[in-house]
């Protein structure tokens, strides 16, 4: 299984948000998509999710994503946007069940396989006890887990998540990263946009560092985050250390460059 992009580019009018990008991503990888604000991370992720953008060329298993039916594509690639929304106060179980929409047909009730996937997703994210609570009465961490369960319930071989740990406390940050790790442990591909360098260093198997619409570094975490890349692309100096054999990067001071 592999998800590849062939000179994928994203344009908004005249602006090129993502320059032609060719990458190949494999099952079992937890890929961190990192980079400064405005680097094009979200644009790239949305293009991978099949949300229509000009010039996107994405292939799954060698077949162009655009040739997939919409539902077939939706069953292959699940997507969780930044700060996911729920416009009505559904119960947690109803919310998670929405992840089964690509598997159903018009007028069809949920099948046993759907119920199994819903229960499993709630079990993985540990929200079974919240199943009947309205989504708008949950704490931020609980809500994020419910949305993650919704994305898990799609049961897709590829999962794309945009800043899943933003606005979560450290416990829930670690727990969400662990959940993503478990998900890709089942021979699936997870791509996560991340801002926290340490979460990226410790949880991802591969990092794509983007800057100004380009993937500028594509490497193992330890190789991707170092003094040179942080200086060049993030324009910061960080305190780098090792703990239990893994690198830690603490952003420390601004590097005043061109502005």
């Amino acid at each position: 299984m592999s998800l590849t992009t062939d000179r994928l580019e994203v344009r908004y009018g005249a602006m090129l948000a993502v320059e032609p990008t060719s990458i190949e991503l494999k099952a079992g990888e937890l890929v961190g998509l990192i980079g400064p604000n405005g680097a094009g991370k979200t644009s790239l992720l949305r293009a991978l999710a099949g949300i229509p953008v000009a010039g996107s060329q994405v292939s799954y298993r060698g077949r162009a994503l655009s040739s997939f039916g919409e539902l077939a594509r939706a069953r292959t690639i699940a997507y969780l946007p930044q700060s996911p929304q729920a416009n009505w106060p559904l119960s947690v179980r109803e919310l998670v069940a929405l992840g089964r929409l690509p598997h159903g047909r018009f007028g069809q009730r949920l099948q046993p396989a759907d119920h199994a996937a819903i229960e499993r997703a709630m079990e993985q994210t540990d929200i079974e006890l919240l199943a009947d609570r309205p989504i708008d009465q949950l704490s931020g961490g609980e809500r994020m887990r419910a949305h993650l369960a919704r994305a898990f319930a799609v049961d897709a071989p590829v999962l794309l998540v945009d800043e899943p740990v933003a606005s979560l406390d450290p416990y829930h940050q670690l727990s969400v990263m662990q959940l993503l790790g478990d998900y890709c442990g089942e021979d699936r591909l997870v791509i996560a946009v991340l801002h926290d360098l340490n979460l990226a260093l410790q949880n991802c198997s591969r990092l794509l560092l983007m800057n100004a619409g380009k993937v500028v570094v594509d490497d193992a975490p330890q190789a991707a985050i170092n003094a040179a890349t942080l200086a060049e692309h993030y324009r910061i100096r960080a305190w780098l250390a090792e703990h239990q054999g893994r690198r830690i990067a603490v952003p420390w001071e601004l590097l005043d460059g061109d502005d």
């Binding site: 999710a49 077939a72 997507y79 729920a86 106060p89 119960s91 929405l98 929409l101 690509p102």
Partner: protein
């Protein structure tokens, strides 16, 4: 137990609604203007059969069809805009249809039961839809769509006022006004046959959007990632509403707020998912409208209260109540 927590309550509520509708339809056939006593105001024999067939049957059927249309389309639009304040009228489809009919009246081309007037109303709703598409067609921005609806409503109101202003005679003005307040009085089976061929495809379009509307709960990007094009969902609901509500306005005039109130009342009982709300909203819309029309017929003799006036009197304060309740949420 809170309502809506259990699917059992949904099934029960739907069963009760259907049962109530099944009971109220024959009741509506038995009750006439100022009727009382054993004869139900029917007289006897031949006359009774004629009254039933020619007057009460079409009145009852139209009440159910129009009310069902408004409930269904209200639920569809609220799902589409993810806003409990949405209503078939909000997109300007109703007022566009009303204006189309008024134009036909104004030029004295037709009386209230003619095909020409109905086609005027449908043309009006389609014109409103065309303007809507011109203003917001390429985008999937729902706020833009609502604003376009506000603009169309204002335009239709202005043009209708213009027609009223220059009405050729006080009688014509009165006729226009009375027609704009929706009513089920003095309708025939011809009206039913006029409405159905347009309304049924409209219903089907809205119902076809059910799963897309469910996906939209999660926002537009996520809906697309779940395999449901927002644009398709949008035009299924808008197109279906234009057809069905256009046809309804054509035969009964503007009956406001049924589409606003019905989904709102049902939501705590049948759940928040649009796919779960569409069918019950149709049944409850039919039920409420037929019940309101029965109440009108039971009032003391005199000038008959118009159905549209009754629904507006109940619906408008309800709308204000909703606005008040959601004030904090809207401004955030």
């Amino acid at each position: 137990m809170t309502p809506g927590a259990e699917p059992v309550s949904r099934r029960l509520v739907v069963a009760l609604l259907v049962a109530a509708l099944v009971l109220i339809l024959p009741l509506s056939l038995l009750i006439g203007r100022g009727s009382g006593g054993g004869s139900f105001g029917l007289g006897s024999g031949e006359l009774a059969a004629t009254i039933l067939r020619e007057i009460r049957l079409p009145r009852t059927l139209l009440g159910a069809l129009v009310g069902g249309t408004l409930g269904l389309c209200g639920a569809g639009l609220q799902g589409l805009m993810r806003n409990p304040l949405a209503e078939p009228g909000i997109l300007g489809v109703s007022s566009g249809a009303a204006f189309g009919a008024v134009i036909v009246f104004y030029f004295g081309l037709a009386s209230s039961d003619s095909l020409l007037l109905a086609s005027g109303a449908v043309a009006g709703s389609l014109a409103a839809l065309a303007i809507l598409y011109g203003l917001a067609g390429r985008s999937v921005d729902l706020v833009r769509l609502i604003l376009a609806g506000v603009g169309i409503n204002a335009l239709a109101a202005a043009l209708t006022s213009l027609a009223l202003n220059f009405a050729p005679s006080p009688y014509a003005a009165l006729e226009i006004l009375f027609w704009m307040f929706g009513s089920l009085a003095d309708r025939s089976m011809a009206h039913v046959w006029l409405m159905l061929p347009l309304a049924v495809p409209g219903w089907l379009l809205v119902v076809a959007a059910a799963r897309g509307l469910d996906a939209l709960i999660l926002g537009e990007d996520t809906a697309v990632s779940l395999g449901f094009s927002v644009k398709r969902t949008l035009w299924l609901v808008i197109g279906g509403t234009a057809l069905a509500v256009g046809a309804a306005v054509a035969v009964t005039g503007v009956v406001a707020f049924v589409g606003l109130v019905v989904p709102h009342l049902l939501r705590p009982w049948v759940g928040y998912r649009p796919s779960q709300l569409l069918g019950p909203s149709f049944v409850a819309g039919a039920l409420i409208t037929v019940a309101a029309d029965i109440a009108i017929r039971l009032m003391p003799p005199g000038p008959e209260l118009k159905l549209g006036v009754v629904t507006a009197l109940i619906g408008a304060p309800f709308f204000l109540h909703l606005v008040l309740k959601s004030r904090g949420r809207l401004s955030s």
